[in-house]
Amino acid sequence: MARSVVITGLGVVSPFGAGAAAFWQGLVEGKSAVVPITRFDPSGFACRLGGEVTGFSAKDSVPKHYRKAVKVMARDIELAVGAAKEACEDAKLVTRGTLAEDSTDPTTYPGARMGCHIGAGLISAESDELTAAFATARGEDGAVDLSAWGSRGMENLTPLWMLKYLPNMLACHVTIIHGCEGPSNTITCAEASGLLSVAESARVIERGAADICFSGSAESKLSLMGMVRTQYAGRLGTAGTGEATSGGQCVKAFDPAGACGAPAEGGAILILEEAASAARRGVPVYARISGTGAGHSARRPYEGDGQPDLGLQAAIENALDDAGLTPADIDALVLMGTGVAGIDLAEAGAVSAVFGAKAATLPVVTLGAAIGNTMAGNASLLAAAGALCVRHQRVPARLNAGSPVLAGAKGDSAAMKIKHVLVATSSLGGQNAAAVLSDPGLQ
């Protein structure tokens, strides 16, 4: 008998603020947290709007004895650590991170049965710290002189400097805080990272290598280099340069006229748990992960050409096969929808290839207009949104400003019967992922 996997906890840090409740409320009310950037002066960039997380401090998310470690956490790591704490509490898990340091109380699961899969991006070094060091190694022409950098400049960086920025540090800090000694991984596939991580956690639990996993992703693109890279990746436009003051006004997901994405920061951690074990604990279940799939686009990298994405189509079909379902069984879609036509139409083409005429009638949930594009944080936020749709039997409001090719036109949040929701995403590099989240009452 195959072990099945359910979601028993959610933690979200999004531009709507810390917490899954704030995230869901923002989506249901149709708000946009994509607003003028205040983290730095964006006036040198064409895009001036972004989804910043405010009112969140990682210090509040770590046990007292671990607060010193926050100093070696890049923003991306802080977001993951914060989301992990909420997810843990939401799933009513006792870990060593929820206990007092000297406590001898038992944890819900032994460390060896706890896994951790947290996707990440290419973390940008903090500009101020690094540049302060560069400034000590200038040559006569004002540029960094490598000889001076090697002999003295680099000494201005803290010895642990590199460890702030290794992508696996999101998962590492979470494993250390919560005592996850089972399989742990860091998938770095741009926007697909979070969903590929959820799929890997699900496989790990299914094959019996762990009973529970912290699973998701996080990234912050709200930094100077983050802006450059997101723009260069063709994900941004001119949001905020014209009259629009929020993403709801200018981010047009799945619209042939879409030319505006927005950078963001955030992430989500899901607690994935072996179903029978979760049932024994008697914790509420958001959704069952009834199928996962992946596929590669196998085309020239980072060119969104609007042509139907064969890799995404493969991922979706693989997920449906894995779940033993057909397109007719799916009640709603949760898709990336960046607001950039070349990317979105490639996704829409894949969805249409799988769902045929039904694609035009299925409710579509997207986050681009509401919170922007966090890159690696995206797909875990999509998965969290999908799980919340199943939990609340409701789809959020739709903010699209334009005329989308999929059924994503502007509309209020609506209650509806959701047995199965399909979460799917493409990515900058052509790695695609999909998962079917199902009403846990169904068998």
Partner: protein, 442 residues
Amino acid sequence: MSRKVVITGMGWITPLGHDVLTVWDALLKGQCGMGAVERFDARSFRTNFASQVKGFNLKNFMPAGDAESHADATMSSKFALAAARQAVRQAGLDKSGSFNPRRFGIYLGAGEGAMDFANYSASHLAGWNEQTRRVEGKPFAQAALQRLTVPCETEQEPNLTVSHVAWDLGIRGPASNCMTACAASTQAIGEALELIRRGDADVMLAGGAHSMIHPLGMTGFIRLTAMSQRRDDPQTAARPFDATRDGFVMGEGAAMVVLESEDHAKARGATPLAEVAGYGSTADAFRITDIAPEHRGAQESIKAALRQAGVDPREPGAGGRSSVHYFCAHGTGTKENDKLETAAVKAVFGPLAPSVPFSSVKSMLGHLIQAAGAAGAIVCVQAIRTGWVPPTINLHHPDPLCDLDHVPNVARDLNPVGGVRVCLNNSAGFGGQNDTICIRAV
């Protein structure tokens, strides 16, 4: 019932050569790839040497037109493309129509590419305000958007290596990239194995690629004092298990294997080179800088890999030697790693630990970082195929805490005692990831 998974193709680009047999021959001869850093002016860097790939040209591995398509790729992505071409050729999967693209996946542990240091630093300095000690957004943006190029920045994204290789080979199956530091490509092979066992793919290309021989890559490890600083003698700087070791030597390269279900290999008449029989993965959950006491995470990942393979580490095999015939060590040459990895092997194998040949090819190749694990996997397959195991060179003053059989300085022919049938390949990463795979003769 899980599907048996075999390796049918291999390829690598390393500082000791650009094909499997050349590098294997060099390893058995105890050759060493280290020398002064040539990629940039590192003369003032406390560690000014590395183990670099030499004389590499992607056009030697594919038609010039194909190579041109990948002109913007980072050097490590190009290493990966070349290694992947070797692997699929050996596996007989290089002809169009020779596989079902949707059933062919890829799982790499590849790293980020080198940044454009001069323009990156200049862009930051353009925005630097000495009074506020902050980088101001507007002048930074103006400089950066003018100086930094789209291909150079975008190719640094860690998933782009997978993108290039999948595009080159026409792979449409499950695709992933992981970055668990120095454990990444062992983990990639392990997870690829599990995807085939689960039935998500018939064939997976798995491995890793990395180069951190660039100013900020070297800076990071120098600040951590993880690298050897033996500036006067790069050729003997990597001294795993030696009492005088003072850190690892940075290497670079790529290593790839083709994994497929045995049934699939048989059906198409491919020759299995070895079986990937077991995989274990754990986290130390201890500290971001230090390995857990007794390397307990590695003990558990080694045990898990052996459990899957059905090998009892305490049960002697023929001739009284361990039933594991070769242990390809992580063996970085840092004080902490080598001591604790030795302790882990002792804890797992008990009285049989001294009978396990346990060497580090990092003494010769340097540390290929994210590609290191996959290189170790190829070493294991070659050990099985030839009956020889490579040495740990520069091992002249054994550390009393590293007192196992590290195959000092000279390769060993194990054919007289029955050859090599079962190997372990072990990796560990900063932050506490441990991954082990068991590779067995078919």
